[in-house]
Symmetry: C2
Subunit: 431 residues, 2 copies
C-alpha cells in the first residue's frame, strides 16, 4: 500500500465534498488502486469547519503556509476558487515542490501558460479534471484515451445553469426571465447569474479543453462569447418545429492550420445526442479522426461529482510519484503552434428570424441581400400570426456560410424599412 | 523519447486499422505522450497483407512464434479473435514475459480468471479497452476516472447490430425481419447474425464490464440473456406512444451483497439519454455514488474506433513499463466476493401486452392474477383495433415487481382461455 499525503486548501462546497468522499470511500480507493490517500492538512479560514467535518486538531489549520510547509504533503489540492489568492497558493506550493490538483477553471483559463512552465521546470504534476465538466472525465479522455487521435472539433454543453434555463424554456414554453427565476429558486442559478448566462463560465472551460485537445495555446481574450440572455421563447419554439433544440454551446474547431473557439447559443438537431442533454447536465462531444464522434455526459457541477474528479486526479498523480517514475513533460507541452482565428472566419448553417411587413417583394429583397453575401437559403417558413399584425415572422435556414458574411447581411437586412425589431440569428449544428 | 516495441498478431480488420493508425498518427502520439510505438512484428497467415499494408520484410511474418520470441517486442497485441488460437497466443506471450493488449471480448469473458493470475504472477500488464464499446474509453473510466466511486449499476447499449435493427424498427415502423435484412445489406449485421441479435455478444461485454465495475468475478454462464429476435413491431410502436424506445440493454446491478447481470430488450424512457443512442452507436450509462449518472457514447465497433482504443492501451502500458515503475497488482484484483444472484431476483417495472377477448371481466381477471403475485399496475391501455377482431391488445405498465413473480403471473395469464398468443413482456427503464 502506498501512502500519498494531501492538503486540501479551502473547505467550501467542493472541499467539504472531497473530505467526505475520502472518509467514506477511502477503503474502496485503497482496494481499487493500492493508494492510501491521507489528508495531512485541511485548511479553511472558517474554524467552524473543523467541528462540522470532525477534522482532527493535527489536520485542521487556518494557515495555508502551515499546510504548504508540511513535509508529509505530496499534493496540494487548491479549492479556494477565484484568481488571486488561489494563484498565489498554487505558485507557492509549486515553489515548495508540491504537485497540484485544482478545480479552478478561471485560474487555469487565464494563467495556465504562467503556471505550467514553472511546474514542468520543477518536474511536478498538475491535475485539473474537475475544472471542466465537473465529474465527467473529459480531460483524462482527451489526454489518454484519445492519444492516437487527431481532434477536429469539440462541442460542449459546459454550463449547467444555462442548460437548465434553456431546457425549462424548451419543455415548458416559458420566457428566459421566468426560467431564470425558477433556476434561482432551485439553486441552479446564482443570485447574480451573469457569469453563467453570459457564457463567461463556458468560455473558461472551452479555453482549457481546446488548448488540451489541440495541444496549443489558446488566448481566452480571443474566444468569442454570446450568452443566452436575449433568447426569445418564440425562437425556441420555432426551432423545435424545425427539429432542433436550443443549447448554449462551447465550440472549438480546427480549421486548416488554425483554430476557432467560441461560446454561443445554437440550434442542435434532435438527431445529435447533445440534444438529449437536458436540465443541469453537461456533455462534451469530441470529433476525432479514428474514434469518430464520441460523447461524455454527466453532472457538470456539485460537490460530489467534482470531488469524484479531484480524487481521480489525486490517485493518478499518486500512482506516478509513489512509483519511482520518470517525469514526462510531454503531457503538458503545447507542441502545436496553431493560429487562433477570429470567430468571423467560422462556417455555420444559420437560423434567421426576421419580423417583416407582410408585403409582396420582401422575401425577394431579403434573399437578394443574402445572395449578395454568398449565403444560400436551405428553407423558408413564413409563420402565420394569430393576432392582427402587419408584421410576420419569416424564418430561414441557410446552407453553410461564412460568419463574417452572415453578420454583414444581417445588418443590412435589419436596416430595411420593411423589417421590424426582435430579429434573431442563431447558428445551427446538425451532427 | 521512449520506444516501445509491439507485435500485432492478426491483420484482419482491426489489425489493419491499427497498423494504419500507427503509420498515420505516430508523430502525433510521440508528441502527445512521449512514446514512440515501433511495430517490430506484424503477423498474419495471409501473405498478401504484407504488400497491402506495405510492411517491411523484417516486420512481416506468418509465424506467431517469431513475433513472440523477438526481444524487441514489449507488448503483444492479440487481434486474432476466437477463443482457441487467441488463448494459446496470449498464454504463450505471457510465458515469454510480454505485456498483452487485446480486443477479444469472448476470450476475456470466458478465460479472464485463468489469464489474469498468470499475468499478475509475472508482473505483466493487460490492456482490454477495445474489448467493450469499441473506441469508447469505458474501461479506463471505470478503472481510473471512477476510482473514488462505488458503482451501483451499469446499463449499456453494447451491440451495434441490435441497436441498428431496433432503431430501424422504431424510426421506420418495419418488422424485425425487414430491419435485419437492411442491416445485413449495409454491413451492420453478419450473414449469420445470431451472436449479435441473440444477446451473446452483449453478454461477453457486460461480463467484462461488470467484473471490473464491481471488482468481483462474474460467471458468464449465470448471465441472463434474451435477444431481440422475437420483438414485435407493434410493441415498438405502443412503447413509443407511452414515451419509451425499445433497446437491447446489458445491465449489471449491485443488490446488497450481490450482483445481477443480464442482457435483454427493455423500454427506455425518452428522458433517459440512452434513448437517444441510435443506429449502430453504443453507449454505457454508469450509476455511481459520487459522480452520479454519467454516460459514455461512441462507435462500438469498426477498425478505426477499435484501433483508437488499442493505441490508448499501448501508450498507457508503455508509459508504465518504460518508466522504471512499480507494478500495481491491485488494478487486476477482484477484492469483492459478491454473490451473483439469479436474474429472477431482479426488480423492474414491466410492460405487458396481452391479446385478450374483448369481454367484460377479463381486465379484472388479469389484474387479480397480478395482484396475487404482488404486482401492482401503474397504467392500462386497451388498444382499439381497426380490423374486425374479437381479440384486442391490452397494454399494462406495472410498478416495480420481482422478476420471479412476474414470470409466474405471466405464465398464468397467457394460459387463460380468453388470452390469445403474441403476448409480450418487456422490462422498463425510467432513468
Amino acid at each position: 500500500m502506498k501512502k500519498v499525503g494531501i492538503a486540501i486548501i479551502g473547505l467550501g462546497t467542493i472541499g467539504t465534498g472531497l473530505y467526505k468522499l475520502i472518509m467514506q470511500n477511502g477503503d474502496l480507493i485503497r482496494n481499487k488502486s493500492g493508494i492510501n490517500i491521507t489528508i495531512n492538512k485541511a485548511v479553511d479560514i472558517n474554524k467552524a469547519k473543523k467541528d462540522e467535518l470532525n477534522i482532527p486538531n493535527s489536520v485542521f489549520t487556518t494557515s495555508v503556509d502551515e499546510a504548504l510547509n508540511s513535509k508529509e504533503v505530496d499534493i496540494v489540492v487548491e479549492l479556494i476558487g477565484g484568481t488571486t489568492t488561489a494563484k498565489n497558493v498554487i505558485l507557492k506550493a509549486i515553489g515548495k515542490g508540491k504537485h497540484i490538483v485544482t478545480a479552478n477553471k478561471a485560474l487555469l483559463a487565464q494563467y495556465k501558460s504562467e503556471i505550467v512552465p514553472l511546474l514542468v521546470s520543477k518536474k511536478l504534476e498538475l491535475g485539473c479534471e474537475a475544472s471542466v465538466g465537473g465529474g465527467i472525465p473529459i480531460i483524462k479522455t482527451l489526454k489518454e484515451a484519445l492519444v492516437g487521435n487527431k481532434i477536429h472539433k469539440i462541442i460542449g454543453i459546459l454550463n449547467g445553469t444555462s442548460n437548465f434555463i434553456l431546457t425549462k424554456m424548451i419543455k415548458e414554453g416559458v420566457s428566459f426571465k421566468e426560467a431564470l427565476k425558477t433556476a434561482q429558486k432551485l439553486g441552479f442559478a446564482e443570485t447574480d447569474p451573469t457569469l453563467d448566462i453570459s457564457g463567461g463560465d463556458a468560455k473558461h472551460k472551452i479555453t482549457i479543453l481546446s488548448s488540451l485537445a489541440f495541444s496549443t495555446e489558446v488566448d481566452i481574450n480571443k474566444v468569442f462569447v454570446e450568452g443566452i440572455e436575449k433568447i426569445d421563447k418564440l425562437d425556441v419554439s420555432y426551432a423545435m418545429e424545425l427539429g432542433f433544440v436550443l443549447k448554449l454551446l462551447a465550440i472549438a474547431e480546427r480549421v486548416d492550420d488554425g483554430i476557432i473557439v467560441g461560446v454561443h447559443p445554437a440550434l442542435v438537431s434532435e438527431k445529435n445526442p447533445l440534444a438529449a442533454v437536458n436540465w443541469e447536465d453537461n456533455a462534451i462531444m469530441v470529433y476525432s479522426d479514428f474514434l469518430g464522434k464520441s460523447m461524455y455526459y454527466g453532472k457538470g457541477a456539485g460537490a460530489n461529482p467534482t470531488s469524484s474528479a479531484v480524487v481521480a486526479d489525486i490517485v493518478d498523480i499518486a500512482l506516478k510519484i509513489k512509483s519511482n517514475y520518470e517525469y514526462n513533460p510531454k503531457v503538458y507541452s503545447f507542441f502545436n503552434n496553431l493560429k487562433q482565428l477570429n470567430f468571423e472566419e467560422s462556417n455555420y448553417r444559420y437560423y434567421f428570424k426576421f419580423n417583416v411587413l407582410d408585403r409582396p417583394g420582401i422575401l425577394s429583397k431579403i434573399s437578394g441581400i443574402l445572395g449578395n453575401h454568398n449565403i444560400s437559403i436551405a428553407s423558408v417558413i413564413q409563420k402565420e400570426v394569430e393576432e392582427k399584425n402587419e408584421y410576420v415572422p419569416l424564418i430561414m435556414l441557410t446552407h453553410r456560410a461564412l460568419e463574417k458574411n452572415v453578420r454583414n447581411a444581417f445588418k443590412e437586412i435589419v436596416n430595411l424599412k420593411e423589417v421590424k425589431d426582435k430579429n434573431a440569428i442563431i447558428r445551427v449544428i446538425d451532427d
